[in-house]
Symmetry: C2
Subunit: 410 residues, 2 copies
Amino acid sequence: MSHFQEQLEKYAELAVKVGVNIQTGQTLFINTALNSVEFIRLIVKKAYEAGAKNVIVNWNDDIVSRLKYDLAPDEVFHEFPKWRAKEMEELAEQGAAFMSVVSSSPDLLKGVDPQRIANFQKAAGTALHKYRQYIQSDKISWTVIAAPSADWAKKVFPDAPADEQIDKLWEAIFQATRADQEDPIAAWKKHDQSLHEKVDYLNKKRYKQLHYKAPGTDLTIELPEGHLWVGAGSTNEKGDEFMANMPTEEVFTVPHKLGVNGVVTNTKPLSYGGNIIDGFTLTFEKGRIVDVKAKEGEEILKGLIETDEGSHYLGEVALVPFSSPISQSNILFYNTLFDENASNHIAIGSAYAFCLEGGKNMSQAELEAKGLNTSITHVDFMIGSDQMDIDGITESGKREPVFRNGEWAF
Amino acid sequence: MSHFQEQLEKYAELAVKVGVNIQTGQTLFINTALNSVEFIRLIVKKAYEAGAKNVIVNWNDDIVSRLKYDLAPDEVFHEFPKWRAKEMEELAEQGAAFMSVVSSSPDLLKGVDPQRIANFQKAAGTALHKYRQYIQSDKISWTVIAAPSADWAKKVFPDAPADEQIDKLWEAIFQATRADQEDPIAAWKKHDQSLHEKVDYLNKKRYKQLHYKAPGTDLTIELPEGHLWVGAGSTNEKGDEFMANMPTEEVFTVPHKLGVNGVVTNTKPLSYGGNIIDGFTLTFEKGRIVDVKAKEGEEILKGLIETDEGSHYLGEVALVPFSSPISQSNILFYNTLFDENASNHIAIGSAYAFCLEGGKNMSQAELEAKGLNTSITHVDFMIGSDQMDIDGITESGKREPVFRNGEWAF
Ligand SMILES: [Zn+2]
Ligand SMILES: [Zn+2]
Ligand SMILES: [Zn+2]
Ligand SMILES: [Zn+2]
């Protein structure tokens, strides 16, 4: 077996055993593009070998999607295949596991009418609302991993020879996901523990507010009563552990929807629906985004914020040291799954119910009452840098260092 | 544009304009393997350009299907994705067009437990029952075309160099579908007319019985009252023409379910569910298959016949001259879509309602009463050769030549 094939097998095994942690008799649903067919087949094989009852692969082709955006009539972007939504919903009810293998080029939808994109995101969000509740409350096991496409590899390594770009991206993915290590499963166990130590510290402190200071950023974020910091591995309703994102370097919680004030500036480009948004500043008053400026993609960003009422508010606060391996690789992946792990970030849109004590069993209305945001969307963007300081402010008003110069301060 | 690319575009255009004959605002549903991605993208593009509202591509991977047969537990083969069935059913109700692009290797399922295959065929047949009624009564436009896979091309051209096999199969497909001609759409119009002349002759004659004589074959097939010969283009409920199979060289009708007597021997291998069945003889008494012998794949053939009650009876009688272009190409395609057009054939299983006067508006029970067979399956097999004579027997008992030495005798 070649070295590449060996790492590919380890990565497929990680996806199945650590990512969704497939259980005997369980169904696995995989969402993927056509880009890495051999890798997907390896995942399917390993899932059956690990006891899966059925593996359903939902293949999508980037070019077919793009042809639709370019050539179909407007009306069709208000529709999302309801059977697909029903399928995912019923499989979630039955306790299936869900894997997404992302590989799209960030430029896939460049030049597409932003209204078409916004309409389709909205239609998808509405159709998949119930399914996404299963995911966002961690009732079921799910994971998001990545595999290269030619266009994505070209975007990330534009200066490499054309025939080496995909290999270089695979290498970067193997490294970021620890698939290049001797025993990747053991490495993930250790990594999981170290993130959980940060989580435990923050959950004891129960800061009332976080105050962010950096060039272009002066932002105060209130944390709701009963907020929970979370990181690395999650546990589903049945008690099975899973890893929702691979890689993951963040510890995160929910902001109080109405308690965000000040200004924040992004530090890495945001790739959204295939478009790049960059050089942007958001101004918050009582949680709501009241001003938006962007050097690139301002219309797309405004469209995102106008998705629904909830997309005017934040739903996630995440901490990642500037020295994280992905930050140190100095690779800009143009993909949130990787780039969010290089930097402190926050998210526009829905808040995770599992980041609140008892939240998994609360209704949407109860969660809102506690300050958790609801939206059909959830989009992370990067705000961290080596110039970022963060203070935690306790109930009694005491300031304690959480981050200094982009690194953990405890 | 290369010569190959030119023919590929013509073929995609044929599929869209002659095959499903897409109408403005219509949805096109495409079932395909992952083998000919570029060709599928061309079809999608041409469908949108011809006015399609939406093109849904349902990709399936042969290797993923095979992994399931090899590694999944028994129980899963009794299940067919009900959402997929629901989707196709509802799209059919809404007047969508359906295209299947077949490409599987005939050896795909070699060595798989025949019980698993039979169970899954049965589950699929049951789940897709309503959808198949739309197809079999020609209420909606549908077409079956082909594209090469590497394994299929290797099977058809085992002696060609590995890097030429796919090109050779494309060439054979272009030739069989007239995509290699200057104006393929005009060529299909002409071909359609010439088949319709045979159809009109037979529909005037209204033979009571056909009597087949050939080595290993002495078979009498009664034709039901009101039977209709059909060939080449069909017309859907709305009056739009479409071409259900490309290529197609046959004119065909329905047998009387209970009026088949004698012995028939196949003349070309039957590829069924990825298995080869060959050298077989079926004996009929009052329509029912009462004896089955096969040199290869006898268990698979018996499994097919045991699918349900209706799979013990015939559902189609089709006439194809031995001099048909596909027969003359001397290529054995190991694929019914092509091989049936090289030879007279009959089909085990369900009968087409549109081959009976008023049949499209009859209930299943009414069709049965007229002698039309019902089954969840429909499998053609080849019985023609240059030694086959067929007589038509009129109401008054007069014998008239229909075929002599494998050729039309009128
Ligand atoms: Zn995050
Ligand atoms: Zn997030
Ligand atoms: Zn036929
Ligand atoms: Zn047939």
